[in-house]
Symmetry: C2
Subunit: 345 residues, 2 copies
Amino acid sequence: MKKRITIHDIAKMAGVSSATVSRVLGNSTYPVSAKLRDKIVKLAEEMHYIPNMIGKQLKTNNNMTIGVIIPTISNPFYASVMLGIEEVARKKGYHVLLGNSLQDGKIEEAYLTTLFEKQVKGFIISSISDNKKLLMNLIDLGLQVIAIDQKIDLPEVQQIEFDYRRGGFIATSHLLEQGHRRIAYVSAPLNRPSRQSIYEGFLDAMQQAGAQDDEVLVQIANEEKEIYDGIYEFENGKALTANLMDLDQPPTAIFACNDLTAFGVMNELVARGLKVPDDVSVVGFDNIEYARMFTPALTTVKQPNYEMGKLACTMLLDKLNDEAGDSMDVLLQPKLIVRDSVGKL
Amino acid sequence: MKKRITIHDIAKMAGVSSATVSRVLGNSTYPVSAKLRDKIVKLAEEMHYIPNMIGKQLKTNNNMTIGVIIPTISNPFYASVMLGIEEVARKKGYHVLLGNSLQDGKIEEAYLTTLFEKQVKGFIISSISDNKKLLMNLIDLGLQVIAIDQKIDLPEVQQIEFDYRRGGFIATSHLLEQGHRRIAYVSAPLNRPSRQSIYEGFLDAMQQAGAQDDEVLVQIANEEKEIYDGIYEFENGKALTANLMDLDQPPTAIFACNDLTAFGVMNELVARGLKVPDDVSVVGFDNIEYARMFTPALTTVKQPNYEMGKLACTMLLDKLNDEAGDSMDVLLQPKLIVRDSVGKL
DNA sequence: GTGAAAGCGCTAACAG
DNA sequence: CTGTTAGCGCTTTCAC
């Protein structure tokens, strides 16, 4: 293991001062004679000089890295967001640190503090904790934060959200337009604002259509298990659908709070010998890749997650570089993706 | 935005030297009187002291972060690996930087160099580049590397691989055991060793069963498109299956090189009015979460990807801390997951 | 048990 | 144009 070469080594060899070397190798705009410049560049190459960014960071107090904290990367929704974030970060010379909070506020806070100690000045968070104190302290110390998907109620935090309520509305409207009246909403617990909003969108549409109370079927799980993968959602969809279909008057259409849950819904229906969409129609939410691969292909509501990642990162880097225009919040609009899981009644 | 507090500030307030403060706050084992210790700890808390790890890093030349470079986090296989990596890293106080190489050797190399400049000393890579020169240089300078999934042919690099060949073998054997003879293998281009190995495993099993040449059907795509998501694999599965079923004597079973491709296979079969597994049996490879959610649930070969992530990270951290026993390579064994997509002939 | 001082690798006033 | 110098925040000998 060789000794690492520093600008001082180069300076000594070139017979110049380390300041000159720094100016050349650090692409400073500072004037240096062509002769010296060449000499230094050549020497650096020969010696395989590799700059030590830690030294630079300590001096300039600017490390080009941002932090991303999400519930779990194993959820394809966040994987997509992450891909978008990383892409714009890379193109602007930033690196991305990933933290999975696993729905645990303690882990989220630990990441916030330890990364801030490493001088990470920008974060993109899908927050799970409602403890604003730590975040406020850090923002006071110069931290920049973009909240995605889950709102963080602080004026300094910029929000990028989906219009979940509208998403719930258009999905339900689609079902109504196809003639369905007895429509069920199937969901994980409403402990996240997003789920609450989709539910409200569902109710909006049903109410607007003048639905009777007995036509509005709702199945919401009581408790949520760990979310290391999509299995909980799937099982939840199955279980709640079982409840629904055991009813005297089962629904003719089911709207699920996300695609994973919709997969569970369809699975249970098929297990009972029912056909989708002939016997029961199903609509999902998220438009993960697999929605189009399923048979029947799932009609669902698309959230622009990859785009959300790109947008979030762009906004964050702008803020970090003081290029932030008016710091506006963004509400991304959903889009209905019609496939084969909904039939006319 | 407040000024940041340093150990010198604390030292001044406490009327001690910064060395003493460092000893207390850095949990050094160095003896400090209980009186001073208390005073300093209390003061640090009151002043909301936050250590600057960059200073520490410059001195100790040890930043607790590792780098992960994979083709794309939007592939659920890698998302799972990443989750495993991050979990053990977090528990040992490390942070994880994520880089998506997008199958581009240039991007991979750029990550390698820029992260190394940031003094990242440990990497977990699913490599796409075959340019060993850069990697060798960095290893010479103290870099530690674990290769996952894709082998890197350097003695200093520890390998964690899957036994793809055996996976291909057991999947095919399963089909043979169910009485199938005309079995097709459907794959993306064999430009990655993993795909080549699965294919070899397929041939092993067919040969061992004494299959006639005309019973061994092979469909391999010519070229691969971008892999930002799973769509290519899906479409590829559809297209190659179409070729297969247009044959005079189509196969009774199809083995796909991964689950995404298998989804495409099933989709095409259903589109042609064929039933799985009644008319044609299908086996996948990977056991991604969605395999069990599909109808029919996909019989497939499980790769322990989450476990691979945990193992890779454990091995890397051991190496970084010189706790590496004999640096052994690992060949993780596959397991057949029997579900509902294969029928007896 | 405590402090003084050097220095990790780099940048940036300032002086020449 | 180039060099000298100070210092970013921290740890760690070494001396007391």
